[in-house]
């Protein structure tokens, strides 16, 4: 087990946000159709290569979204789900909101990448609402993405600022979706989640034993 633990370590230090984004980008199969959530997941687009031929979907009605627009390319009619001006790549297409959500809800997206507050051992996702009294709830397309994409990747730091694991036995925050997350990319490790619980694919700057001390659910080792 100790040997195996060492063998899955791919980095001597925890990964920064950009390194993590680079790793997620590398893991996306060529030709995939992908939706990148608002915030940290958006960084992934910086590391997708032309060879990968990835098509980005934005839920406000477009496939073939290009990079963020700058200068004269800024067009108020061409924005992403985060309401940031973007560009159009050759081969793009526009459609209305019901058609756009059908792309997600119908199971046509290969991958969506989302941020999270918590992910449970069986892949439940909590990423839309703290549930705090007085907080104004806002869900957007999070539940549709979580439920609709073939694979749901989460990107987050493993620990909260207070040092608590965001991978949990059962989510204490309100759920976004049940059993939907297939993979969790964190600064300290990549986890696979599903009905059989949590499997560690690789660790960054820690051993499996050290990781297990941080995470309150049993960790399996990837075969």
């Amino acid at each position: 087990m100790t040997t195996a633990t060492t063998s899955i370590q791919t980095s001597a230090t925890p990964l920064g946000r950009d390194d993590l984004a680079r790793l997620v980008a590398k893991d996306i199969a060529p030709g995939s159709f992908v939706n990148l959530g608002i915030g940290q997941p958006t960084l992934v687009s910086n590391y997708l290569t032309e060879d990968q031929d990835i098509t980005l979907h934005t839920e406000n009605g477009m496939l073939g979204m290009g990079p963020e627009a700058t200068g004269d390319d800024i067009d108020g009619d061409l924005i992403n789900a985060g309401k940031i001006p973007v560009t159009e790549l050759p081969g793009a297409s526009y459609f209305h909101h019901a058609d756009s959500f059908a792309v997600m809800r119908g199971g046509h997206l290969d991958i969506c990448v989302l941020g999270a507050f918590q992910v449970s051992a069986t892949g439940d996702l909590a990423n839309w609402h703290t549930g705090a009294p007085g907080a104004i709830p806002a869900v957007g397309g999070a539940m549709d993405l979580a439920t609709g994409a073939k694979d749901v990747f989460v990107m987050m730091t493993l620990l909260t600022r207070e040092g608590a694991s965001k991978i949990v036995e059962t989510c204490t925050y309100p759920l976004t979706g049940v059993g939907c997350v297939t993979r969790v990319y964190t600064d300290k490790a990549v986890f696979l989640t599903g009905p059989e619980g949590v499997t560690v694919r690789e660790t960054f700057g820690c051993t499996l034993e050290e990781l297990q001390k941080l995470v309150p659910v049993p960790l399996n080792l990837a075969a």
Partner: protein, 228 residues
């Protein structure tokens, strides 16, 4: 019957108190600012408004909310960095909120236009947004029953209309326009340009004129290109 209004004021004149009003747009793209301003001006109140958001900054829908004209918002994402008018009303208990996952919002609007009585969807299953709703397991997946959202009026923005009310849109400003046009009893559209009948290619029309009741031309410069 299709009618071409001379002004946004004329276009919205028939909207009465207590109406359910769908407003197109996602962020500022496709937001019919001039029609919303006219709605504010016309004084209609007690409105239920359907929009993806709940107003931003000090314009459009945000002002309608500020002035107390909106009794209830049906939307997916009310909380934004600049949604202060909604935030204040909500915290004061002065506005009702029906929070709907964005895909359910779109599909429920589409269902209204397509004559669907209700549908089952996996979105929201097992979450607090499905509480109190009918659920069933279909093909091994938990699903939630969702009902159509009908409206009295839709205010939307398109790029061009022809003389039959056929519409085309521009880029991601298309968003909710086509489905809201079909879901409302009376659809009012502001366009940048009106072209003669035959001036739009029948293959490329996004909203057929059957869904359009009132068209009003608004100079493009006043609203296109606004970025939040």
């Amino acid at each position: 019957m299709l009618n071409f209004a001379d002004s946004v004021q004329e276009a919205v004149a028939g909207i009465s108190d207590g109406s359910t009003v769908m407003i197109g747009g996602f962020g500022n793209a496709g937001q019919p600012f001039e029609l919303i301003d006219a709605l504010l001006e016309c004084g209609a109140t007690g409105l239920t408004v359907v929009n993806n958001n709940a107003g931003q900054g000090d314009q459009g829908l945000a002002l309608l909310i500020k002035e107390g004209r909106v009794k209830k918002m049906i939307c997916s994402f009310p909380r934004q960095s600049d949604s202060w008018h909604f935030d204040a009303k909500y915290k004061a208990g002065k506005i009702e909120l029906e929070l709907v996952p964005q895909g359910n919002l779109a599909e429920r609007i589409r269902a209204a236009g397509a004559g669907i009585g209700g549908f089952f969807t996996p979105t929201g299953y097992g979450t607090m947004l499905a509480e109190g709703k009918e659920t069933r397991i279909i093909d091994g997946r938990g699903q939630v029953f969702e009902t159509p959202i009908h409206a009295d009026v839709a205010l939307i923005k398109a790029l061009k209309a022809d003389g039959k009310g056929n519409l085309v849109y521009r880029k991601t400003a298309r968003n909710f326009g086509p489905i809201m046009a079909a879901a409302a009893k009376h659809t009012i559209v502001q366009v940048s340009e009106v072209v003669p009948v035959g001036g739009l290619d029948p293959e490329n029309i996004v909203t057929p004129g059957i869904y359009v009741n009132t068209v009003v031309r608004v100079a493009a410069s006043s609203s296109a290109g606004k970025v939040a």
